[in-house]
Symmetry: C2
Subunit: 438 residues, 2 copies
């Protein structure tokens, strides 16, 4: 064995021991028992689609077999389907730091579950416009080039409808946001950003950007797709105006789970959103001809909610019942650091270029690496039971869902990754045929 091999072997041994020790000390290790995880798979893609909580599976069967099948239409009352959007919102609220208590004070609600992120962003953009166009003096929406595309497309859609003169989209690079806010000043309607970048995991300075925007009279809309359920956001504390978030990533609500909207209570009375379906009406069952929006967060509802999907999300959220979001965040940072260090220490992995912020405090629960053959590499890993994902053009993305991953999972992933890189399995033609992946 060469000196180098010996040193590599020692490093591996040390990481293995460390993984075992860390799992023993993990304060939220027991949460793994809440999930049905497939055997022979280590799932590093919970940032795309969270794993299946046992409670979600149980509820899916219950809502279909008993509630729908047996109680049929009466379930709207009997099983409180009608309250699902508010009740699910109430479970999400503490995860993002929104104070509310639907049971005792429904008017306190600021978070509601409904529709998709794209549709909800459209509502929020219009809401911001209705509150803050300042009689046409404010016309600009600031975002970043590398925002998740759907967020930008939503502005483009709005422009096509009302004219880009009323809502010009200004894009800048990640690091230019603050400077741009200063520059655009009182022409800004809103700053719309994704809190955690979907590729790199970069975390925007939400408190600072929010405060700066407010200093210039602008509102903020935060997309919490890669934040909710994995790190504290504290929307109330930082006086965030609006936010959207995703039900199917770290909240584990199942494929295409409904999204959520946060709208600060102070804006409820004055805002308008145009997707005024009957569920957002103050009295939906009066079937009145004229629309009168609910005075609270329910004004963000539109059509009939997807009861099966929303029920599944509701049950999935029980995973967070007895854990603080800070505990989840602590483990998340430990997991990404462990992975990052192990990659750095492995000679076999020198071909991977680190493409996320260096410090765990500055990134979400994911790590990005670039590689010329990132797509094929990802497929090769999946074939060996390590599920990561590819993001164009050359990124392989590893997501670390702290509520079901162990440090030993991370260790095992690295070992497999090393093997794939050593053997160049990713050169095989079978891994180079592209398919759509999400």
């Amino acid at each position: 064995m060469s000196e180098n091999s010996k040193s590599q072997h020692a490093s591996t041994q040390s990481h293995a021991a460390s993984a075992i020790a860390r799992d023993q000390q993990d304060a939220i290790a027991h949460l793994r028992d809440h999930y049905e995880l497939p055997e022979d798979t280590i799932y590093l893609d919970g940032n795309s689609l969270g794993a299946l909580p046992k409670a979600a599976k149980k509820r899916a069967l219950e809502v279909v077999e008993t509630q729908w099948g047996k109680d049929l239409i009466t379930s709207w009352n009997k099983h409180a389907w009608i309250d699902l959007p508010m009740n699910v919102g109430d479970r999400i609220a503490p995860l993002i730091g929104a104070k509310q208590d639907v049971k005792n004070d429904p008017a306190s609600a600021q978070v509601i579950c409904c529709d998709s992120i794209s549709v909800n962003l459209f509502k929020l953009l219009c809401a911001a416009l209705s509150l803050n166009s300042d009689d046409g003096k404010r016309t600009k929406i600031l975002s970043q080039c590398d925002n998740f595309p759907t967020d930008l497309y939503t502005v483009e859609g709005l422009q096509a409808l009302i004219g880009s003169g009323k809502c010009e989209l200004v894009l800048c690079e990640e690091e230019e946001i603050e400077q741009k806010i200063e520059e655009l000043g009182d022409s800004l309607i809103t700053v719309m950003l994704t809190h955690v970048n979907f590729r790199s995991g970069y975390i925007h300075n939400l408190p600072k950007i929010t405060e700066l925007a407010h200093q210039h009279g602008a509102l903020v809309i935060w997309d919490l797709a890669h934040s909710a359920g994995v790190l504290p956001v504290n929307v109330d504390e930082h006086k965030v105006d609006f936010a959207v978030g995703c039900g199917y990533k770290y909240l584990n609500g199942g494929p295409g789970a409904p999204a959520f909207v946060y709208a600060a209570k102070r804006h409820h009375a004055k805002l308008q959103q145009p997707l005024s379906g009957w569920m957002g009406h103050a009295k939906p069952f009066d079937f009145a001809v004229e629309y009168q929006a609910d005075s609270g967060i329910k004004q963000f509802l539109s059509g009939t909610p997807s009861v099966i999907s929303m029920s599944v999300l509701d049950a999935a959220l029980s995973v967070f019942d007895d854990v603080s979001i800070q505990q989840v965040r602590d483990k998340s940072m430990a997991l990404t650091s462990f992975f990052q260090q192990a990659v750095e220490d492995a000679d076999d992995l020198k071909g991977l270029k680190f493409a996320s912020p260096a410090l765990p405090e500055q990134r979400g629960s994911q790590l990005a690496y670039t590689h010329d053959k990132a797509y094929a590499l990802c497929q090769a890993l999946i074939s060996k039971g390590i599920v990561a994902d590819f993001r164009a053009p050359d990124i392989i993305r590893f997501g670390f869902s702290p509520t079901y991953l162990s440090f030993q999972d991370i260790f095992q992933s690295i070992e497999t990754l090393k093997q794939v890189m050593r053997d160049k399995t990713y050169e095989l033609p079978e891994f180079n045929r592209k398919q759509a992946v999400t």
Copy 2:
């Protein structure tokens, strides 16, 4: 026994015998086996929420347990989640008379499954506006006062956003539609109507109204919520421009099942809809900064679809695999006629006032009756296992889903209804406490 009692008894006997005979001759009676129906219940509310098809239950478990739980993110390809909106659209298309063949010619698709009716109506209103405002010369949207409220609210929402000067909502009574089209002429952007009235079941003359609108250069948007899956619509044949429809009524897709959009192929190239989420992009997985709408029906997609709910709807639609929509319609008309006649023949039911069109050809698969105590009457019936629903202010509504109801069900419902009316069970306080119902 009085002469009158004797005659009533004979009438009942005759209806009982007729029900048995009709069930024996029913060409689609076997479809009932596709469903899990609760015992001791006769479900006359399939027009609010369809019953549970066995295939839907099986699929719910499969999509949750196997596809999500075991195959996780890979299911987008492995289980073709990504194709669900198009594939479900392909199953709905023949039910409404839209020609397409997604498998062999994806560009032929005109029907796609997505979002809710409310959200989809907003897209279609905007699409109509983008195609047919005639540089601002056309500004009016014609609908009827008694349309389903969400349809009207959607126009109000659009008005709040773009100004009512660009999309004035003109409402008229059911019977005035044609006259109003003539009157408004070339100021009309679109006529937006619900094909089958949600309260009375009245069917608009879709071919005639569509043709008349076209003569005046207006487009049509038909809401098929109470049509799809229960009567032929023939959207292609009648040159309908746009339509929306419901997944959870006669299509039995489960509570809050996603809705669908029909957009005639001839409009795809020129229309614009503003809810431009990433799933409607020509190449969603390129994550391009600029939105480029898909050139076909997929441009109506917005955010990530609700995979669990959509899969359940997909499976539910298998009920229609081996039946023609005309067969369903024939049975539907026979069911409503049988019920109508039995009510007319029953002395005990003189207190119910018929509130639907008299001829089965002129109404959908439902019957409305007014009664001072309609709400309590409805509750009293439900307590005896006959599920109907109440619509404000004084309507009790009976829905007849031809794919799972038998004529003997109808007979039994009438007998229970007679008993409740005779005993005035609806006077009991327990049936007079209002709850929200849908």
